[in-house]
């Protein structure tokens, strides 16, 4: 093996403790400033990660509860009453709370876990370390970004405990359902809290994204030209760009909804008779909200996907000991995806009565986005071709990412084509599609990132055996859960149904629904294996003894094992080459770090 290989540490564990004391910037900080109101991007990243993990557990547990209802509509589960009280009297979930759970599951996973938890963690952690900066452009704003997220989280969490329950109109919260208290229990106080929480979330996201962009554009170390940046950074840059351009539109949509709910305006409301009386609203358009929502909503799925794509690229390359194939093609396809992401939103609205001609335009633009996505897949595959693959946990998750991205991406071709969407819209086919591609696949990208950078974050390794158990159960489980849903969707089975037993067309899927629920519960517990592994390894994991355990080329691995605030002791290293020089270094090694000057006669990539 090569010199970058992991060596398990024996009894001499004092190594890392010594390393910490070299730091000339190192000075004792009070607990509060070091761990809570920290302005160190590495600590903020860990705050995002831990908050994200807590949210993920809550969100996933919700899915277990509503899967129990879907799988076993005739049974009761007393344990649910323990957790949910009145909402599951006698162990049977009420329809109101079923809808509240699916709504919160979506909101939590999409925004709090896969946006804040994913790009919040890795943008914060990797950008300064990989571009060679001491911290973010504005560490203070960065800290605010986390605390706005925290506040937003607290408000969303509070809404779970109020009498009328949390928002229950679906994570998209379409008005009039979400605008009228008479329409649904969850459209009362719960919806106000949801909107408030999401508004703060947008603030958090903007503070973070602006910081990420300025840091990447302005604070790269000497020699770190844009085309020498790792693909993670490119991906995180475009993630931030997408967020900055689309979240404000969502915000405006929310403001109008707040006005309609509380101040008697009619932006989204028209000709409504509800709760026994006709409402005074005339002339609004419920469809307007959908345009505003999906103008964020679609870029949002790329906000979720791009970090995973970037990290999978990095991980595949490192653990294949081979340069990423088509570095420039990867960047161009990221640009293509980012650009097109803004031009496809109305493919969520083919059946809203929108002009069919407009629909046709969106079909064309939507299927166009398949091309850069396909290029990325082929490039990942070619990266592995004739590589030297090491199945460390991050590598396994990156492989799983590619497999799931293919599976979930291909079904997008069905839904992007309006003539097929007209039947599959709002069926389980959609559920299967987006859970595989932006749910599980994005999670695999995130897991790849966590397993890969955990040694850098905490100076210890996560346990491999547990990681392998986690990987195989999750990958197999994901396919077992979502593959059958494609069939259910093609058979027309609608999403967001509490019970199918009264439907002649759908009731014969009961057995498979039960099967899916059982697998989902098992997969939930497999995620707890990860959680245990994560937290136990922070304190008890095998210690990292070399700076660069994976034999990686990028800058973060040139820092000390436990980097202090400021990242590098002494000068920030200079960069001389692109980030994927996995080739013979002339001394028997199989990679050349970015900080190694070009050898005489060597051409830069």
């Amino acid at each position: 093996m090569n010199h970058g290989e992991v060596i398990i540490e024996g009894p001499n564990v004092a190594h890392s403790a010594v390393a910490e004391h070299h730091g000339h910037e190192h000075h004792e900080q009070h607990f509060i400033w070091k761990y809570i109101f920290s302005q160190d991007h590495k600590m903020i990243s860990k705050q995002f990660l831990v908050t994200g993990i807590i949210w993920a557990i809550i969100g996933a547990l919700m899915s277990v509860f509503f899967r129990l209802q879907l799988g076993f509509p005739d049974s009761t589960f007393p344990i649910m009453e323990k957790f949910l009280g009145e909402w599951a009297k006698g162990g049977k979930l009420s329809p109101e709370f079923y809808y509240a759970l699916v709504t919160m599951h979506g909101t939590i996973l999409v925004f709090f876990v896969l946006t804040a938890g994913l790009s919040g963690t890795f943008s914060n952690y990797l950008i300064p370390l990989q571009v060679g900066a001491r911290d973010m452009a504005s560490p203070f704003m960065n800290m605010l970004s986390y605390w706005f997220f925290f506040l937003s989280s607290i408000i969303m969490l509070t809404s779970l405990f109020i009498e009328t329950g949390p928002a229950s109109g679906g994570w998209t919260t379409y008005p009039p359902l979400s605008a009228l208290k008479e329409a649904s229990m969850g459209s009362g106080l719960g919806m106000d809290l949801w909107l408030l929480s999401m508004a703060l979330f947008v603030v958090s996201s903007l503070l973070g994204s602006l910081n990420y962009i300025s840091t990447i554009l302005n604070m790269r170390t000497k020699g770190m030209t844009m085309t020498r940046m790792p693909l993670t950074i490119w991906a995180l840059l475009f993630t931030a760009v997408l967020g900055v351009l689309s979240f404000p539109v969502l915000f405006s949509g929310f403001v109008l909804l707040i006005f309609d709910r509380n101040f008697g305006t009619s932006f989204y409301l028209s000709e409504i008779f509800i709760g026994g009386k006709a409402l005074p609203h005339i002339g609004g358009s419920a469809i307007l909200y959908q345009h505003l929502f999906w103008f964020l909503g679609h870029p949002e799925v790329y906000i979720i996907m791009l970090p995973g794509m970037g990290m999978a690229s990095e991980v595949l390359s490192t653990h294949s000991r081979k340069p990423i194939f088509g570095y420039f093609a990867m960047i161009i396809s990221l640009i293509g995806i980012t650009f097109l992401a803004f031009l496809v939103w109305a493919h969520h609205m083919f059946v809203t009565g929108m002009s069919p001609f407009l629909g046709s335009i969106f079909v064309l633009l939507t299927l166009l986005i398949a091309v850069p996505s396909a290029v990325k897949v082929f490039n990942w595959l070619t990266t592995m071709w004739r590589g030297n693959l090491r199945f460390n946990p991050p590598m396994l998750f990156a492989i799983g990412f590619v497999s799931l991205f293919i599976s979930g991406g291909l079904t997008g071709i069905f839904l992007g084509n309006s003539a097929i969407d007209i039947h599959l819209h709002d069926t389980y086919f959609v559920i299967a599609h987006f859970h595989i591609v932006m749910g599980v696949s994005a999670f695999f990208g995130m897991f790849a990132g966590i397993y890969h950078w955990f040694p850098k974050m905490f100076g210890r390794f996560m346990n491999n055996t547990l990681a392998y158990i986690h990987f195989f159960i999750t990958l197999a489980g994901a396919y077992l859960i979502f593959w059958p849903m494609h069939y259910e969707g093609i058979a027309g089975m609608p999403r967001r149904y509490y019970d199918f037993s009264a439907w002649e067309t759908f009731k014969h899927f009961q057995d498979i629904n039960a099967f899916i629920s059982i697998v989902a519960t098992i997969v939930f517990f497999a995620q707890l294996v990860f959680v245990v592994n994560f937290f136990a390894s922070i304190f008890r994991g095998r210690k990292v003894t070399v700076k660069n355990p994976w034999g990686s080329t990028t800058l973060e691995w040139t820092t000390e094992i436990h980097p202090g605030h400021g990242n590098w002791e002494g000068d920030i290293p200079e960069v001389y080459r692109w980030p994927y020089d996995y080739k013979d270094d002339g001394n028997g090694g199989d990679f050349i770090p970015q900080t190694t000057p070009l050898r005489p006669g060597e051409e830069s990539h």
Binding site: M1, V6, I8, K82, E96, Y99, Y174, L177, A183, S184, L269, S270, I272, A278, I287, F325, V351, G353, S360, L364, L368, A374, V377, N379, L381, M384, N388, L389, F391, I399, S403, I406, I413, F414, A419, I420, I422, H423, D426, N463, I469, F472, W483, Y487, I490, A491, G492, P494, R496, Y498, F500, W503, E504, H508, L528, V529, V532, R540, Y582, H605
Partner: protein, 348 residues
């Protein structure tokens, strides 16, 4: 108590799994790390291959399980076109799926690290990148072409001889209105709605309303072979008229009238024979989340012959006759008053 024991057991299981994980780590230290690394790597490569093989087998079994459970043949022409387009798309994406997944797992196995293996430095190739930009682009162009052609068909204007029927969603049922003998749906106004005797807010000053027939059970009767055009509306929140057997759906949006048309080709009775299910019924499902009763918002379509349809139609009383006959004189002014009061509110 039992809950407490369950939680304890779960925690215990995790502790055990964690300990096994730790133990395997120490074991690998004792046995010498390098050897174990290659051995583990080989095991993992095999496991991934096993996953792939089992996965393909699983797909086969899953397909076998679902085939008898899928929807019967589409009950309208556009639906049949839909099915063939779906089939083409499944074949195209299926080929790509199996090709890329096979390559992925083949590479996993073939290029796993060994004591001797070295990677091949291969950073880019314009030719390859050009090939796999062009091929998906062409494939997409073909699928878009088929899709847009079908889309234009489905969304084209309904034929002039189409029967017009109104379908209105409300929490949580469908209301169907037929135009009656004059073949014309009268005006309606949401401010005239009254759940007791004017569920759609028909304007009684419009004579076209007098013979309109309303089914509050959400029963949509249509004639086989005759195009039917649905005018879709909603009283409260957004609903969606989902017609799985006809492979189409359209949102019902308050304040906006949407439309959808199709020509049913198979009667309910023939479909009972085709599916072998005596309880077969064409169902209208609400496909847009509309509140706590969303899952129970069910309507039905009865596709029948002209004779059956005429017979059914002749048995129906107009909504006016059903509800308003005794109090027809007072109803209209009442509605006027109500309208005025709502106006007054909105002006404040």
């Amino acid at each position: 108590m039992s809950g407490f024991i369950t939680i304890l057991l779960v925690i215990l299981v995790f502790v055990i799994i964690y300990q096994i994980g730790k133990a395997s780590e120490y074991a690998s230290v004792m046995r010498g790390q390098e050897v174990v690394k290659y051995k583990t790597n080989r095991i993992l490569a095999w496991l991934l291959v096993a996953f792939f093989v089992l996965g393909v087998y699983g797909i086969w079994k899953c397909n076998e399980y679902f085939m008898p459970l899928m929807l019967p043949v589409a009950a309208c022409d556009n639906g049949v076109k839909f099915d063939s387009m779906l089939y083409v798309t499944i074949v195209v994406t299926g080929i790509v799926f199996f090709a890329t997944q096979t390559v992925l797992f083949w590479f996993v196995f073939r290029y796993q690290t060994t004591e001797k293996s070295k990677s091949f430095y291969f950073a880019h190739s314009n030719k390859l990148e050009l090939i796999w930009t062009t091929i998906p682009a062409i494939a997409m162009a073909v699928l878009v072409a088929i899709g847009l052609k079908n889309w234009a068909n489905v969304t084209s204007a309904a034929p002039a001889n189409a029967t017009v029927v109104e379908v209105v969603g409300k929490q949580f049922n469908w209301v169907v209105r037929y135009p009656g003998k004059d073949n014309e749906l009268g005006k309606r106004d949401f401010r005239k709605i009254n759940d007791a005797n004017n569920v759609l807010g028909l304007d009684w000053t419009d004579p076209h309303n007098n013979d309109d027939i309303i089914s509050q059970k959400g029963e949509l009767h249509v004639v086989v072979g005759k195009p039917v055009k649905l005018l879709i509306g909603s009283r409260d929140v957004i609903h969606d008229v989902g017609l799985s057997h006809f492979r189409m759906k359209m949102d019902a949006v308050p304040g906006i009238t949407t439309t959808m048309w199709f020509t049913p080709t198979i009667t309910t009775d023939s479909m009972k024979a085709i599916t072998g299910n005596p309880n077969f019924v064409y169902e209208i499902s609400c496909d847009q989340m509309c509140g706590k009763g969303h899952y129970s918002m069910r309507g039905t379509i009865i596709v029948e012959t002209q004779a059956q349809y005429d017979k059914w139609m002749s048995e129906q009383k107009s909504y006016y006759a059903e509800n308003n006959a005794p109090a027809a004189g007072t109803e209209a002014p009442k509605a006027e008053v109500k309208m005025d009061s709502t106006k007054a509110v909105s002006m404040k």
